[in-house]
Symmetry: C2
């Protein structure tokens, strides 16, 4: 497989997350312009699509598409459907191709192409609803065995992708610090509870995906059409307060344990870019139940995406040390696919809107070092992990920075997600 | 207590839900104007506030308030805070007062004041996040004893208002029919499950409240300031598929069982209008645990609001019979107050945005006929109720119309919520 080249040299670096084959969409602020604008990442640069439209560089697109590209979020563009965003992506690929002179030789070039270090990524979508699934068998089994030793995997788990509605207002962009929340918890002896800074703060490594084209209330999306409603994927850190969760979650599920912050990576990687990394899926064991018809699709896919969590403590930062990898998993291992999640979510006729976010739940693999949260990684603190500054972690400490990375790579082609980071600030008044 | 009079005669009718002391806000479409507009209900009329602004009748309001009143949803107005909406309400009260001539004698009067029968109410807010609580001890105990006979009320229940995030996209305005969903369910013998039209369709009578002024991520709202963030209340029907719920809800709570539709009444009754009906609260038994400080407020209130559910079958409609009351409860009976729900929701620093909706959970009282859903009212179908057309109901049938009404009444003053209605359509392809 030969790789395509861009006239932006950093995009041809084999280590970049953002070669010309990726071109993820995002929304950025630039200091020399007033409104946030849609952009794509390319190498260590971003291409400002709003300015491309205003300079006539995307004049082949329909009026409504050019208007959508001049918006301050991806909602309208994504809502036009996958065919439109694919067309835009192809047009942008043309502008950035090594053999194309239109943008490269334009006098506006340096205004349109900005160093990534000079822009600030903001939320790519105005998120309507956020849904979180629980799609990893390893995660569900591990956590289930801690919370319910006699009954780790519920009878429903292999028949439907278990999910729950999450809080959209507190979803923040990568890089925004996360304050350790206060919460209501009980000690090991049970009630009475107390209210104070949570002790068992955790991350959860997840993949998220944004809905593009919406669907009508009352009309389930058939599984074979499900991916037509998906715009692209991001990394998600579903911060969790385990002590709050344990006390509050029955019978209606997690609430305050997760509503204080969820971090997403800023660049939305399209399904088009990920297509070379789709493998047949989902994985099923021979004794797994056959799923109901509305959850089966002969062409369904898993995605071969490496997912890493790294931690950097205050001391490591002060000593100039990089974040230390604490887990490495792969999204391919998930039991439930994106298409199954969409089909199940809408199976009762629930409608989707452009910009809705769904997330996979913690991505954990079969091995200890592929477990995507500290609760599992340290087995609720019983097997702490060591950091290179000589300290141990059972759960997150103030000053810890959690860095999630994701990438798909094969034959010299790497489609990366960039980073999803967040620094833990001490609790208020603490 | 003397009641105030309006020059709109129907507002002085003792039976009206919308006397001049009420003036709930809503958003309406009118056939002779293009944009939806903010309005208040008064007797059997609505006053178009957008037109009031454009005719200079609300010139005493600040620019940003007049702009907010010219919007197509209540989000911006509500976001300005309770003081602003109270000021607007007082100004509108002045315009409608029997002794005030400004609007009454205006040549524009018949353009500004429209018969309610000639307008269409639409969604009053663009809803950001929707949260549903579980705040009735009677409901939680009844349902708990069916799903978990050995453990009806969880140990956490009297220490925190249990809640969960709901689906915002599928919240619809009163009057919109609700299609019986398909869903994944199991029969009495358990798995394997099947997918088809749900059999145990139910309503849940709830009170909802809309957030006005938002709050900052990371900053809990102290309970004594909680009501400053509440714009007003509506009736809610949290339609539920009990067969889906029973199979799916563990361990992360209800999901598809409730995401297919939630109906709200169109007129948002302000806390100002409800103030005369606030009574000291919440109710606590002597052996109930004392709540943690962040959930205690010396001036906290319960609200004395009567809540009724009535059902009208196809046959009753064909025979011209009115909807038949199947339950009558009172919102005063709830264990957890609105202020407690807001304080708990934000206790971890979760932010609120104008237009977020929170609902109380099913309002059930101590008696059988005050139970707010069929699951409880018929004790999961074991004790069916009779309708005047000679049929029985265990759960809802196709063609049933569910009518929820709410009102507070004392000394000849009645603050009503109007109706929250929805007609059950047969399942697709069924």
């Amino acid at each position: 497989m030969t790789t395509r080249r861009s006239w932006i040299e950093s995009a041809n670096d084999p280590g970049t997350d953002f070669p010309i084959e990726n071109l993820p969409f995002g929304v950025v602020e630039r200091s020399d312009e007033s409104e946030p604008r849609i952009a794509v990442a390319i190498g260590d640069r971003v291409l400002d699509l709003r300015e491309c439209v205003s300079r006539g560089l995307l004049s082949g697109q329909r009026d409504e598409v050019r208007r959508a590209l001049s918006s301050d979020s991806l909602n309208t563009l994504a809502g036009l459907g996958r065919q439109v965003s694919s067309t835009v992506r192809r047009a942008v690929t043309g502008l950035l191709d090594a053999g194309d002179d239109r943008l490269r030789t334009s006098s506006d070039r340096d205004h349109l192409v900005r160093p990534m270090s000079e822009i600030r990524s903001v939320m790519p979508f105005r998120i309507g609803d956020y849904t979180d699934f629980y799609a990893s068998e390893h995660h569900a089994t591990n956590v289930g065995s801690m919370f319910r030793p006699d009954n780790p995997l519920m009878p429903n788990w292999k028949h439907l992708p278990v999910g729950y509605h999450g809080r959209a207002s507190s979803i923040v962009e990568s890089g925004r610090p996360v304050r350790r929340p206060h919460g209501q918890t009980v000690g090991p002896d049970g009630p009475p509870p107390s209210y104070g800074p949570v002790r068992l703060l955790d991350y959860e490594l997840e993949m998220g995906f944004f809905i593009g084209a919406g669907s009508e209330l009352g009309s389930p999306v058939p599984i074979e059409r499900a991916l037509d409603h998906v715009f692209g994927l991001v990394l998600v850190n579903d911060w969790s307060a385990r002590d709050v969760q344990k006390w509050e979650y029955q019978p209606l599920g997690p609430f305050n344990a997760k509503n204080f912050a969820t971090t997403i990576s800023p660049w939305v990687v399209t399904l088009d870019a990920l297509e070379p990394f789709m493998v047949s899926g989902p994985p099923r064991a021979t004794d797994d139940p056959r799923n109901l018809e509305y959850l089966r699709w002969g062409d369904d896919v898993a995605m071969d995406i490496e997912l890493e969590v790294a931690i950097r403590s205050t001391q490591m930062r002060e000593r100039g040390m990089p974040a230390h990898r604490v887990s490495l998993g792969n999204y391919r291992d998930m039991y439930w696919t994106i298409a199954q999640m969409v089909a199940h979510h809408t199976s009762t006729g629930c409608d989707l809107r452009p910009g809705d976010l769904m997330a996979s739940g913690t991505v954990s693999g079969p091995t200890e070092d592929s477990r995507g949260c500290l609760l599992e990684r340290t087995w609720r603190g019983e097997r702490p992990i060591s950091l290179p500054d000589g300290t141990e972690r059972r759960f997150l400490q103030d000053g810890d920075e959690v860095v999630i990375r994701g990438w798909a790579e094969r034959d010299g082609r790497r489609i990366g997600f960039g980073e999803c980071t967040g620094l833990v600030l001490p609790a208020l008044g603490g």
